[in-house]
Symmetry: C2
Subunit: 405 residues, 2 copies
């Protein structure tokens, strides 16, 4: 609880109006008044200033319920732009997006094996290109990165693949570009992207995105808010021990973690290992060259080894889903990342693993599906951190982000 002041009330009402405009394709002043419970004259004043600032425009006339036909208002989607970044392990991708999440410019640079200062310079390179290309006022920069992130502090605490420890990424980027910056874990960004731009969610929806790449992480949205946990480490499901005896060693130091059986790296390594010892698969011809692409081709052709390895990974993902559902009671789980390439058969194996382990009462109520937005959802989610901070829309180019988390 905090004290309520007049200034707070004014800002609150302005954000409330803008939120309503954001939430509709088009909307009249009367509807805004009805939805926000603000008076007609308050809404008119706020709308007048939003139009003056170029954020809102009158787009036509709606149907009347008797009386004068209402004038419809709409967000000017390209009034401001925002930058989103996805620092994946083999490729840094960035984009300039408008207020509706539509991508206007895009930059992709290979990042395989890049770490430390070189990785940071590569981030600058992507951003330099994007900032230069922008032809609208920029709200700021949102970055989705693998690893443990302190979003409040804007610090990448630990990103093993990028060799970053306690990197004050927000400060570095703010200093360089003089723009608000938000930094968030990539799985959390994926979840925000899905929630903000995906279909079928309300502002209060709860969902989990399980992001399967080289590592496995979960982004958790609880009642419309990202759940960070203490110190930003929520969703570290890749290191849940799922093979209690005889598991493979994990990079974390234990054995039998989910990552050792269900990540893309694990699937490829397992296929290589089994191809050597279990001939009879097309993959046995050249085990050392097995990669995700060749595995996918073999899988599509019904190769028994490929199917065995991939579907076993899927069943383990199903076990992970059941742990999340049992712990959080969130009934909508999306699988995202590189494993989705294996399609419906993989999804079926996830559901199979789920059915074998989830409290039966919950099985029918739980929806497991692939994410909708695909590769762009981390870019979209990272940029949404800026879009959701309505106060940024009213500033020129403020020196810092007031509310990044």
């Amino acid at each position: 609880m905090r004290k309520v002041t007049q200034q707070h009330t004014k800002e609150h009402n302005r954000n409330l109006t803008l939120k309503t405009v954001f939430a509709h394709e088009s909307v009249s002043r009367a509807e805004i008044s009805r939805i926000t419970k603000l008076t007609r004259s308050t809404v008119s004043d706020i709308v007048a200033s939003l139009v003056a600032e170029g954020l809102v425009v009158e787009v036509g006339v709606g149907s009347s319920r008797g009386g004068k036909s209402p004038i419809l208002l709409s967000l000017v989607a390209d009034a401001r732009h925002v930058i989103g970044l996805d620092l994946a392990h083999d490729r840094f991708s960035g984009a300039v997006l408008n207020l509706r999440g539509k991508i206007r410019q895009r930059v992709d640079l290979p990042a395989e094996g890049v770490g430390g200062d070189a990785a940071l310079r590569l981030v600058y390179k992507v951003l330099d290109k994007l900032v230069r290309s922008a032809n609208r006022p920029l709200l700021g920069i949102g970055v989705g990165t693998p690893g443990l992130v302190d979003t409040r502090g804007g610090v990448v605490v630990n990103a093993v693949n990028l060799s970053w420890q306690n990197l004050p990424l927000r400060q570095l980027l703010q200093d360089r570009y003089d723009l608000p910056v938000a930094v968030i874990n990539d799985s959390q960004a994926a979840a925000i992207g899905e929630h903000t731009f995906g279909e079928g969610y309300t502002p209060e929806s709860s969902l989990v995105v399980i992001n399967v790449r080289n590592g496995i992480g979960a982004g958790i949205i609880i009642n419309g808010q990202v759940f960070h946990g203490v110190g930003g480490g929520a969703g570290e499901i890749g290191h849940i021990v799922v093979v209690r005896e005889g598991g493979l060693p994990c990079r974390c130091g234990h054995t039998g973690c989910l990552e050792t059986v269900a990540s893309t790296r694990a699937v490829v390594e397992r296929a290589r290992m089994m191809a050597r010892h279990v001939p009879g698969s097309v993959l046995a011809e050249s085990p050392d060259t097995i990669g995700l692409d060749s595995l996918q081709r073999a899988f599509a052709n019904g190769d028994p080894l490929a199917r065995q390895v991939v579907l076993e990974a899927g069943r383990f993902l199903g076990l992970a889903v059941s742990v999340i559902v049992a712990t959080l009671s969130i009934r909508r789980i999306l699988i995202a990342g590189e494993m989705t390439r294996f399609g419906p058969a993989l999804l079926d194996s996830v559901k199979e693993g789920l059915a074998q382990t989830l409290f039966p009462r919950l099985i029918d109520e739980t929806r497991v599906e692939f994410d909708r937005l695909g590769h762009d959802e981390i870019i979209l989610g990272a940029s949404a951190l800026l879009l959701n901070d309505y106060s940024l829309l009213f500033k020129g180019q403020p020196a810092h982000v007031k509310r990044a988390s």
Copy 2:
């Protein structure tokens, strides 16, 4: 976001003041003003009405920082009372408590094997006694029950041990006693009790209480709020599958659930089973009569079978803790319920299981301990649901709970 009205502001400021008084042993008007950022005159007006209502009293004079010594205010702990209930599987316990959670009256009735209507009649019996014994205005009744609870709706959706399905317990109790009623899952009540009355928490603390009885459930507090999940089912960790192959059947229909290896029921059954087949333990003399008490005695005397069975359960609880920490990134986990009777050696086995499975970086940051409040924490937590609703303090005996969750 919702519209801010004058009435809302007034109520907000009154609750803010009362919250500050609750949070301090004693506090001056000036300190309240500093903490709440309300003006001195607003605070004085609010305090005057709280004193008139008997909720706050002047208790003495504090030290001065120059100028007049301030008059200290304190909550009148017995100005109102509240009832808390714990519907454990073998015993229904209830108490009348004051505003500081101090128990003033207590009623315990055996409930072994009681279910359905008989269980409901037993609840009435406990409450009839407590309501009759109350000699202060009652704020309401808080009930902690095993099973899945829809706290918002006040409905026990499913409590297997009590044979309750979709029981509208809040409505039934409100109609019978004409008091506000809140119903919550017992593990969640335990977590609220610990957070409200335990030592070392702030209003924004996050913690998890793992409640081990016949079943196993977790109460999750995230940033000071109970996390219910969708449909109230968060914390169903008893049915996480921890033995993937060759596990024992669980009452849920699967095999290898946490409850089959780490609940009190599982420990007793395992000891009985192993005593038959593994002679050499004092417990082998009469396997069928092994219960928690005899197991505890044998454990204390270093009986190898008792130690094996109990410590193995502890290691599985450690695995469950690691799943919770990895998923939620909550670093403070309390073990509560019947297994705590096995003392420090059990706690060590939980930590051992945790160290074997938790992401190493997190091990040092994670605190696992027994709960502080013991058997009363469910009663305390259930009653805290009413205590935390400050608006109830200003009403005579309102017809319903406005904000139970």
